[in-house]
């Protein structure tokens, strides 16, 4: 790298001024519309408040938390939700990322029509999750009328019987996982594709000259080159996957038998179906703390390598 003179001290002063101005609009917006409401939610989690009630909130202290974490009447559902969330994240993050990587590798050629294929794989991302859920609810419909059942029957020459995917506790979560992966893989694929195409081709050339096989090239060139991209993709996908709500609300309503209930689903139904604001707020606060912990742990393990110029 060429030598660059040190940046003058004066510009650091200027930086602060400009930085403050640049940051103020977003800062105010975040403060007013995200931070303060969240603080208010924390406050509400200590209250007993019925949504829409003309009566004000009454103090409940940490009772909501006690119920959520310690009282079997409430905590059984909550812990099941946590387990479901964990299962979902643990399966979806590697599976979706792996699939996205595979598709990106497949598309990483200069064949004709690549942009068209890229567009098709990205299309599901443009669909709102609610609409995706409705379409897949039809696909998973039980009996012969459901699309998936029909497909399975045809490819198995009638051997595979129709199955109620969403109504069977054993398959409901898997069904939701498949839907979610279908919906999100395009987004990751595009980012990974960009990462792939930024790896210097000369590295591959050199490896080919050294008679390195495809697998070796993959592990020693592609993966390290993709490292930062992968880290970004994994972290973002993890946080987003923990917020699982729309699919569950539309396709299974948390069932059957709590097989697909999630933390956000419980928070929303507590607030709007049962009108229990304090309970819902407590759920979201616990959720926040947990996800924050996970994100911090992840970041610590997967620290990105940034060049310090």
């Amino acid at each position: 790298m060429l030598l660059r003179p040190k940046t003058p001290v004066a510009s650091i002063q200027q930086d602060t001024g400009a930085a403050v101005v640049m940051v103020i609009p977003a800062f105010l917006g975040l403060l007013a519309f995200v931070a303060v409401p969240f603080l208010l939610a924390i406050f509400l989690s200590t209250q007993n408040l019925h949504f829409g009630s003309g009566l004000g909130p009454t103090w409940m202290g940490l009772e909501q938390y006690r119920r959520l974490l310690l009282d079997p009447l409430f905590s059984a559902d909550f812990y099941r939700a946590l387990i479901n969330n964990a299962t979902f994240a643990v399966v979806v993050v590697p599976a979706q990322t792996g699939l996205a990587l595979a598709i990106a590798l497949l598309l990483n050629r200069s064949l004709r029509g690549m942009p068209i294929f890229r567009t098709f794989f990205f299309m599901p991302v443009v669909f709102p999750m609610a609409l995706v859920s409705v379409i897949w609810k039809l696909i998973y419909a039980p009996d012969d009328v459901g699309m998936l059942n029909t497909v399975l029957k045809v490819v198995s020459f009638g051997h595979i019987q129709p199955h109620d995917f969403l109504g069977d506790p054993k398959t409901a979560m898997a069904a939701i996982i498949v839907t979610s992966i279908w919906s999100g893989v395009g987004f990751q694929m595009v980012i990974l594709l960009a990462g792939l195409q930024s790896i210097s081709g000369s590295l591959y050339e050199a490896a080919a000259i050294d008679k390195a096989g495809k697998w070796q090239q993959f592990w020693n060139i592609t993966m390290p080159g993709l490292r930062n991209t992968l880290v970004f993709v994994v972290m973002v996908t993890t946080i987003l996957s923990l917020r699982l709500f729309d699919q569950v609300y539309i396709m299974t309503r948390g069932g059957p038998l709590n097989a697909t209930t999630t933390v956000m689903y419980q928070a929303v139904t507590a607030a709007f179906d049962r009108g229990n604001i304090g309970n819902a707020a407590a759920i979201t606060v616990v959720f926040f703390v947990l996800v924050l912990a996970i994100a911090l742990i992840q970041r610590w393990f997967l620290r990105e390598e940034r060049e310090i110029a």
């Binding site: 949504f51 829409g52 003309g54 004000g56 009772e63 009328v145 709007f272 049962r274 009108g275």
Partner: protein, 469 residues
């Protein structure tokens, strides 16, 4: 009538933050807590609009513009409401009604989230949710506002549903009917004797046995459609009558424990769960019309589609008797007045108009692609062909005529209103969750006890949801 708090739900009310303490509170309000609380109070006071006045019976002048919140559901009913409002506006110049439709799936949430002063003057409300809105100051008594003739003409089941502490809050154009539709051909082919009216109802055991017979004869292997594809209020509406038919109640003396989870209900739940192998998932909502099942447990609103598909092959039967006689549901949407906005008299004129014979008949009959709902006025009911003694839906009219009202569900009465309490949304939510879990194989006793405890805890938190006045 009593106070519901000086402010509507958009506001906490200055006086009530950090107000009453409960037994649970062991924390002495430290100064830090007090200042935080004060800060939030300030924030909320700023964020809240002005408070509303109490929901007093100040009727206004009887003239002016009123806003009408209507439930947007069946296209035929929507058109009927639109036509009625237009006719109302055309028939006089004192009151102008401005109509606003809210999709049915959003109506509850939106009404819940709206303060009384922002809510319409006239609101269409689903019967059992009425008390919740009363408690929030969104509905007021209409006894002095709506004409006595209108009130007298309402059928008893509707009066029972819409009255609290002796005061009437809503006027209805329809009531609902719930029963089991049957396909005569399929029933006959399986050799089933089925009830033809309220005199020869079938017992739960007989019903269960018949299901097996019907399923055996049907290539689909199914016999019954329970509208599992419906969401929202359906499971409670459709299956809560079983609790009463089993000889129990949902809540008595303000407690669900010991009632919702009594041995009779548990036994009935087990029977219900045993039907699962014979029940069609009905995702395409046409299991019955396509002949995949011989029976369909559902309300009046499917009658036009069913009768079109099956014609004279259609029969309507009462629900099975789980020990305490056959029981069925009642209650539907009705019109209430948001008296807190001060336009009670004008709004009442619209309600009187809605409840007159021409409109009720219009709304319910096939003339406007109606949905077979039971007319809620005595005169319209008497003239209805659907509900005449020789009519196909006479059973629904009979059932409503034998309403249990607000009294206990005896062996003879048939239609049971859903629990009348402002805490109804919680009951509905917890009951339907438990009921579906049981249907999917969970242990009935555990699920029902849990539901009862959840309901009781919630009621305790909210002081039993007392309605003052």
């Amino acid at each position: 009538m009593g106070q519901f708090g000086p402010n509507g739900p958009g506001c906490f009310g200055q006086a009530q933050i950090g107000g009453t303490t409960t037994e649970v509170d062991n924390v002495k309000p430290g100064s830090r807590l007090a200042s935080t609380t004060a800060a939030f109070a300030l924030l909320l006071a700023v964020g809240c609009g002005g408070g509303t006045t109490n929901a007093t019976v100040n009727g206004g002048s009887g003239k002016g513009t009123i806003v009408v919140w209507a439930d947007q559901s069946q296209s035929g009913q929507d058109k009927a409401t639109q036509a009625e409002v237009a006719a109302f506006n055309a028939s006089q110049t004192d009151v102008k009604a401005v109509l606003k439709f809210i999709p049915d799936a959003d109506l509850d949430k939106t009404t819940q989230a709206t303060s009384p002063k922002e809510l319409g003057d006239v609101v269409e409300v689903d019967g059992p949710y009425m008390q919740a809105w009363i408690r929030e100051g969104k509905l007021g008594p209409i006894n002095g506002l709506v004409s006595a003739q209108t009130i007298q003409n309402q059928i008893p089941s509707v009066i029972a549903q819409d009255t609290v502490n002796g005061k009437l809050y809503m006027v209805a154009q329809i009531d609902s009917g719930l029963g089991i539709y049957g396909n005569k051909a399929l029933l006959g082919a399986a050799g089933i004797t089925y009830p033809t009216g309220l005199d020869n109802v079938w017992t739960a055991d007989q019903f269960t046995a018949d299901l097996a017979k019907l399923a055996a004869k049907n290539p689909s292997g199914k016999a019954l459609d329970l509208k599992l594809n419906y969401q929202g209020e359906w499971p409670t509406y459709g299956f809560l009558p079983i609790v009463y038919s089993a000889g129990s109640t949902v809540m008595t003396g303000g407690k669900a424990a010991g009632h919702l989870d009594s041995t009779q209900v548990v036994a009935a739940a087990k029977t219900f769960a045993s039907w699962k192998p014979y029940v069609d998932a009905n995702t395409d909502d046409s299991a019955f019309v396509k002949g995949r099942v011989a029976m369909s447990w559902v309300g009046h609103w499917v009658y036009p589609a069913y009768s079109k598909a099956l014609g004279s092959n259609l029969v309507v039967m009462p629900l099975p008797d789980f020990g305490n006689g056959t029981k069925t549901g009642q209650g539907s949407i009705a019109w209430g007045i948001n008296t807190s906005r001060g336009n009670g008299k004008a709004a009442a004129k619209l309600l009187d108009f809605f409840a007159n014979d021409a409109n009720v008949t219009d709304y319910t009959s096939g003339a406007v692609d109606g949905d077979g709902a039971v007319p809620a006025t005595k005169t319209a009911l008497a003239e209805s062909t659907l509900y005449a003694p020789s009519g196909p839906l006479y059973l629904f009219a009979q059932q409503l005529n034998k309403t249990c009202g607000s009294g206990p569900a005896t062996k003879d009465c048939v239609a049971v209103p859903r629990p009348q309490t402002p805490g109804y949304p919680v009951i509905s939510s917890d009951f339907s969750a438990a009921w579906f879990n049981i249907f999917n194989g969970a242990d009935p006793q555990a699920e029902l006890t849990k539901a009862a405890q959840l309901i009781d805890t919630d009621f305790q938190d909210n002081g039993g949801y007392q309605l003052s006045g």
